[in-house]
Symmetry: C2
Subunit: 137 residues, 2 copies
């Protein structure tokens, strides 16, 4: 269970873009809207393009827009793209490979909660979380 800061940045970016699904967003404007360090934001945008969530349009009036419907992108997909496959599903005791047979008291305690996390992340699409940025910030 980890959720890197970069994943959180991705939530900000895509969540903000989902506000108007078909609009074109420039890195500059995004930076002003969601306060992710500009250069890092650009790198992240490129990354998200490579993962197929968005596509970039270069040139004079370029920017970024969604490459697919926002209802098909889930939060879990985003986390797994950034933090790696199965990053949420790791051993709660920090073992790389389970020393028990995926059954110890700690595992039992955590299992239900872990499933809840995965369920929440996988059932929430970007369409559900497009949020408005306050103007006065």
């Amino acid at each position: 269970m980890n959720l890197s800061k970069t994943s959180k940045y991705a939530f900000r970016i895509l969540g903000h873009m989902a506000k108007d699904e078909h609009a074109l967003y420039s890195a500059q404007q995004l930076h002003k809207d969601i306060y992710v360090p500009e250069r890092y934001l650009r790198r992240l945008l490129t990354d998200l393009s490579k993962h197929g969530f968005i596509k970039s349009i270069q040139g004079r009036h370029g920017g970024f827009t969604f490459a697919c419907d926002t209802s098909t992108i889930t939060l879990l997909q985003i986390v797994e793209a950034i933090d790696g496959q199965g990053s949420i599903n790791e051993c709660i005791l920090g073992y790389d490979i389970c020393v028990f047979n995926h059954s110890c008291p700690m595992h039992d305690v955590w299992e239900e909660t872990k499933l809840k996390i995965i369920e929440t992340l996988s059932k929430t699409s970007l369409k559900d979380i497009h949020y408005k940025i306050l103007e006065d910030l």
Copy 2:
């Protein structure tokens, strides 16, 4: 929401010690049982002593033993001691201070799950998770 590797190590240590609540555990034996790097384990044990979970007994036949009843130590207390107060309760969008009024679609989506995590960690005491280490490892 983060759970550092060090917190997971702490789970291993205290969970293992909870197996026999009143026993005395040496760092060396713990290292063999739970595979936490020995020097790091020792530092962590000192740390956990300072936080009052366990107490150290120095000398020839020294070691570590619980400083209080295992039923009074919750997983949340351990996490907060290691990762810092409120580490679980952080903004899911990565903002240090909330830019909305603690209400945005993302917040709403995450709130219930976050509460579930906190509930699980705070309702589980060490008494509940003392587990047996497999002998053949």
